[in-house]
């Protein structure tokens, strides 16, 4: 037999016992040709374009899943940032466009649609402003729409006016969805250096340098990496890195194969494979568990940043050889509510917001799915965003913030979102004020690219 029985059983074990899956097949769709001054025509154009390209997406993805026997968990769509598409439209509010996206998403049967987005890292056009002001109601009145706002890049610096504004928008979004513990905020990401081809939600959008339609794939597999590390007998850290590299290669190969087959069947370009390790609330399918397998008593203790740096780099090294086109976010994710190990570490008092911030300087993607007290001020939220944007800007990497100021909740409470979004313990933020700093506004200039210490 060409393939050894042990190899066959290894693959089956990954799927059966270690939660290996292709996390998402995301179709990117350009909507720039939908522009119209009449909002009703614009909405109709958007609906027709999305349902035209994506009508076979779910069926095809399921066929490929069955052909290879590898679960493909999510089918998603990313569209051109809506602020660009709607800018020429004669309207003050873009909520109806969000509803159109939601309806199109429902009708083609996908899980999430991303791209209710604005790119304001250097300044704001009237369209961007309208979009940002529409976010709270857009997320409160839809189920599947995801929103993102890029407020910083390494080349432009940080737009602190936008950062200040986003503090208020996050609060308003929580308030508008307070009946569901502020779940709207789980669908809103604030970025530095946002990638144009990221297949993961809530931050996916179809960038302006992309083709008309494209397939991007996100793999996963913290459970597989976790088992690999735990099976090693008294390894040194070099051996752990080597084992992670090999596993990342295998996982990524599956994503590459699935992505190519889906795009071939749909006759759409294959864009990139995103090598991210995305945890789920399933026991063992956890990035925190991998760090603990390396020898930390609990995620969040001293040494966590170093262990995460090793993991993130090894995943990239193994994965980049397995795919022709790697892109998107490509790094280990540390969303607190979606990772049982992270939740446990927070509840033990081992993992704080400050440690999470340090961790984001060596991995993808940022302060992700973190619940904070509902009475946290907008200025404090903006200041948390500003810190995270600074890490992204200076380190030339993507960083993001997805915070949920859970209405009526205090430190010690927890917020239940269910499904892949999981459960978030409410974390402590600093009680000292950042009000004056945030109120100054303006831009933090782009950083110098030499003198790299």
């Amino acid at each position: 037999m060409l393939i050894h029985p042990e190899e066959i059983l290894e693959t089956i074990h990954m799927i059966k016992a270690e939660n290996f899956d292709i996390r998402t097949v995301t179709m990117g769709i350009n909507l720039r040709d939908c522009c119209h001054s009449d909002i009703d025509v614009l909405n109709e154009n958007i609906y027709n374009k999305i349902t035209g390209y994506a009508k076979e997406l779910v069926r095809t993805t399921e066929e490929v899943q069955n052909l290879y026997g590898i679960p493909i968990t999510n089918k998603r769509i990313a569209v051109t940032p809506i602020a660009i598409v709607a800018e020429s439209c004669d309207t003050e509010d873009y909520v109806s466009i969000a509803k159109t996206l939601d309806r199109a998403a429902d009708d083609v049967g996908i899980d999430f649609i991303g791209g209710f987005s604005a790119l304001v890292h250097k300044g704001m056009t009237p369209g961007y402003l309208k979009l940002i002001n529409s976010i709270p109601q857009a997320l409160a009145n839809t189920k599947k729409v995801c929103s993102s706002v890029n407020v910083a890049t390494t080349k432009a610096g940080i737009n602190m006016d936008a950062v200040a504004m986003m503090g208020h928008i996050v609060k308003k979004t929580a308030e508008a969805t307070k009946d569901a513990d502020g779940i709207g905020c789980a669908k809103l990401v604030i970025f530095a250096n946002a990638p144009e081809d990221n297949p993961f939600m809530a931050g996916a959008f179809h960038g302006i340098g992309e083709p008309d339609c494209v397939i991007n794939v996100g793999v996963s597999g913290p459970g597989v990496v976790n088992s690999t590390v735990r099976e090693l007998k008294d390894p040194d850290l070099g051996e752990i890195s080597e084992a992670i590299k090999k596993t990342a290669f295998k996982i990524t190969r599956m994503g590459e194969m699935v992505g190519r087959e889906v795009s071939r069947r749909l006759n759409v370009d294959f864009g990139v494979l995103d090598l991210s390790l995305a945890p789920t609330p399933e026991i063992g399918d956890s990035v925190a568990a991998i760090l603990e397998a390396m020898g930390l008593e609990t995620c969040g203790t001293h040494g966590t940043t170093a262990a995460l740096a090793l993991l993130n780099d090894a995943v990239k090294k193994g994965g980049s050889m397995a795919s022709s086109y790697v892109g998107g976010l490509s790094g280990a994710f540390i969303p607190v509510s979606e990772d049982a190990g992270m939740i446990r570490a927070v509840e033990l008092g081992a993992l704080s917001l400050e440690k999470l911030e340090a961790m984001t300087s060596v991995c993808s993607v940022g302060l992700d799915m973190i619940a904070i007290p509902g009475d946290t001020s907008a200025a404090t939220i903006s200041a948390i965003i500003a810190d995270e944007m600074a890490i992204g800007m200076i380190n030339k990497k993507t960083t993001a913030v997805r915070l949920i100021p859970a209405p009526g909740k205090k430190v010690g409470d927890s917020v239940e979102f269910g499904g892949l979004l999981g459960r978030a313990p409410v974390m402590k933020v600093s009680e000292f004020s950042s009000e004056e700093f945030i109120a100054r506004g303006g831009r933090i200039p782009a950083p110098i690219q030499a003198l790299t210490n």
């Binding site: 037999m1 060409l2 393939i3 050894h4 029985p5 190899e7 066959i8 059983l9 290894e10 693959t11 089956i12 069955n66 052909l67 290879y68 026997g69 590898i70 295998k250 190969r253 599956m254 590459e256 194969m257 087959e261």
Partner: protein
């Protein structure tokens, strides 16, 4: 698709008639066995087959359903996966 061969795995508690019942379903769907190996691993009956099909007029979904259904009756887990799933992962 570069080949029309499938890897079929049957894993479960050993009992009389597993091979006969499973290969009967394969014959019904004109699925040819190219290679076969069978062992008992950790008390589990483990059979791996490399199977070839004529891709024209082959209804994979119906075949998978019949195989999984037969497996459920026998109390074993049956998977039918395209060979590429394993070649891509384990061969460069």
């Amino acid at each position: 698709m570069t080949s029309t061969r499938f890897i079929i795995t049957v894993i479960g508690i050993d009992k009389i008639g597993i091979v006969a019942s499973i290969t009967k379903v394969m014959a019904d769907y004109n699925v040819n066995i190219v290679d076969i190996s069978q062992t008992i691993m950790e008390d589990l009956f483990t059979m791996i087959m490399l199977a070839g099909v004529d891709s024209e007029n082959f209804d994979l979904a119906a075949f998978q359903k019949a195989m999984v259904g037969k497996g459920e009756k026998l109390g074993v887990e049956v998977r039918v996966q395209h060979e590429d799933a394993f070649r891509f992962m384990h061969r460069i």
